[in-house]
């Protein structure tokens, strides 16, 4: 009898392991399709930022996550309704990496996340003010599955608790039908703008203890017909 119970338990463990491996290696979930904005002829505004929390003006989360809030004494988001959220306040740059404004990114884990579909979804919103130009609001759903699978897990498995390499990926998967974010202009030259955007991440180092060590983000925003581009924007094209 004990032999059969042991056999059953061993089988279940093997099955769980096999299923987890299958989910992890699922080739259908690892697609990183080309952004529609990278092949468009439309006019593009490019906004960059450092995704390393210690480079930011303020970064805060629940205070118990792997990535520590910055500066150290910033208030943490420990209350139950905001515990699964984080906020990043950072300087955003133009395509030549010159400071251009301030960006605030709100991110919350999405209830639509489904491991079986390779979806580690995050609902996020950018509040961006480009000095002397105006403000924008960018709403998006991001999928962090590839980032977790190709950077975070390998960092945990590494004996040095560190990942180094070169990783580029589009994080935006919605709400637009083509996997684009929704952009709404607020003030200045962006007033009335309704458009699309894509956020991409470029990572080269990640640490288990600190989180991102060398990582940049870039928002590519379609401003066709609504916004007069500056010389820097045109250079980006």
């Amino acid at each position: 009898m004990i032999r059969y119970v042991a056999g059953l338990l061993s089988g279940i463990l093997l099955g769980v392991f096999a299923a987890a491996t299958l989910l992890y290696l699922n080739p259908l979930a690892s697609r990183n399709p080309l952004s529609p904005l990278s092949v468009t002829n439309n006019e593009i505004l490019s906004v960059g930022y450092s995704a390393v929390p210690t480079d930011s003006i303020v970064y805060t989360n629940d205070g118990e996550s792997r990535i520590k809030p910055h500066p150290e004494k910033v208030r943490e988001l420990w209350e139950a309704p905001i515990r699964r959220s984080e906020v990043l306040v950072t300087v955003v740059t133009d395509s030549r990496n010159n400071p251009a404004g301030i960006g605030i990114k709100f991110s919350s884990d999405s209830e639509k996340s489904r491991v079986i579909n390779g979806e580690a979804l995050v609902d996020s919103a950018w509040h961006i003010h480009l000095v002397e130009r105006g403000s924008l609001f960018v709403e998006q759903t991001e999928n962090h599955w590839n980032f977790l699978r190709q950077i975070v897990l390998p960092a945990y498995w590494s004996s040095a608790n560190h990942w180094k390499g070169l990783w580029n990926g589009n994080m935006t998967v919605g709400p637009g039908a083509l996997g684009t974010a929704a952009v709404s202009g607020g003030t200045g030259e962006f007033a009335g703008l309704e458009s699309e955007a894509v956020e991409a991440i470029n990572a080269s180092a990640y640490s288990v203890s600190q989180g991102p060590v060398a990582m940049d983000g870039r928002l590519t925003i379609d401003v066709t017909g609504d916004v007069e581009l500056t010389a820097v924007d045109v250079t980006e094209r």
């Binding site: 032999r3 059969y4 056999g7 059953l8 089988g11 279940i12 463990l13 093997l14 099955g15 769980v16 096999a18 299923a19 989910l23 003006i57 303020v58 805060t60 500066p71 150290e72 004494k73 910033v74 208030r75 988001l77 209350e79 309704p81 905001i82 515990r83 699964r84 959220s85 906020v87 306040v89 400071p99 301030i102 605030i104 709100f106 919350s108 884990d109 999405s110 209830e111 996340s113 489904r114 491991v115 079986i116 580690a120 609902d123 919103a125 509040h127 003010h129 000095v131 002397e132 105006g134 403000s135 609001f137 709403e139 929704a182 709404s184 202009g185 607020g186 003030t187 200045g188 030259e189």
Partner: protein
Amino acid sequence: MLKTLIFGFLLGIVGTVAAAWYVPVVDQYRESSIISVAPNGGNTESFRINIPTDRIMMGAPMQAEPLPPGLRWPTEELFDGVRVELFKVRNTRETVIGIASRMVADSDAIEDSVEWVLHLPARGTFYVTMPAQPADDVRRVGSLRAGTREFRPMQGEVSERWVPNTDDDDPEAPDGHIEIVTSFVGTFSDDMTETALTEGAL
């Protein structure tokens, strides 16, 4: 024995796949919304921000005591006219339900403005722009520019006002609070309704 092992193996696979399908990875904590119906249609909701306890950050040039301590505001002249604040947002029961940013831009090139983004993780986010000057010396009124999830099919107005604390007996009481009142009406175009239904907002 081998049959038992194979049965367990299949059971393990099916169980894991079923768990991955049915068990939610994320379950955001929800507070009941406190919304009232306005007499002229639509609905209103009040939010409050206790000052200074709910202020997470105040970014402005040349602050004697930056908040949070250790904050380094960019030193470039470019940012002299920008002021950014970050808050926790409460409902009228004084429970924290979200986070908000308030951005004030003072510039010669564009019209001065006050902007709010309220991010309520279980419900959605909305973006409001207001003129720099209050409408009646007390209340600043702006319009909803964009919303996500629950707020996507909405249009309407949002007001902000500073309410000082008048209770001198309680030494623990905040200095006052910022009151944000939304007045939204749903826009039921076919596209909007379909989107909202898909997203479970209606």
